[in-house]
């Protein structure tokens, strides 16, 4: 009886540790998800992927959407800059290569910019991309 009582708190502590670990594991995946406002603007076709690796406006944005896109583009540029340095390329080259992939990754209904500057809606067919894209 005594022994059981002594073990119980340990069991609780272990459960707490396990719960903390689960939360720690869950947090990165939650962080990795798109901001709901961003996801909504994307799905609505207000914003889309440009060939240069940054987000652009397919239609005149609200100030909130403009701020959101500017923030994401700053973060993207920071990420491109870091990877460009690590791979011995220029920020433009790395951003462009990412743009090729980001346009390829667009889902049907989302907007992307063709090399000639037109905003197109992605459908089931392959997107119109720059000839240099792999």
């Amino acid at each position: 009886m005594m022994r059981f009582k002594m073990w119980k708190p340990t069991g609780l502590a272990l459960a707490a540790i396990a719960a903390t670990a689960a939360v720690a594991l869950a947090v990165p995946s939650a962080m990795a998800q798109r901001d709901p406002a961003y996801a909504a603007a994307r799905a609505a076709g207000q914003i889309g992927e440009q060939p240069d690796g940054y987000l652009g406006f397919a239609s005149t944005p609200t100030p909130a959407i403009r701020a959101l896109v500017q923030d994401l583009n700053i973060k993207r540029k920071a990420a491109y800059t870091e990877r460009a340095q690590a791979t011995g390329s220029t920020v433009e080259q790395f951003a462009f290569t990412s743009g090729c992939n980001l346009i390829a990754n667009t889902k049907p209904g989302e907007k992307y910019q063709a090399p000639d500057g037109r905003w197109l809606t992605r459908d089931d067919s392959p997107p119109v991309r720059n000839a240099s894209c792999p």
Binding site: A32, R76, R83, T87, F96, T97, S98, C100, N101, P134
Partner: protein
Amino acid sequence: MNTPKTGARRRAIVGHSLAVLIGAAALTGCVQIETPDKPIEINLNINIRQEVVYRLDGDAKKLIEQNSEIF
């Protein structure tokens, strides 16, 4: 005695200069190449870029996967 010789020489000189002129004209014709315009340059740029893009493609894919919240 001199006259036919001079005549022949003259004719020879005229012939030479004509040949030189024709040659020069032919040369000018060869040298006149259309100045390389933009399309050639653009094609070169695309080739260079394509190499770079292919090299960076794997890294770009990884970056997008690992930072999905900003892409």
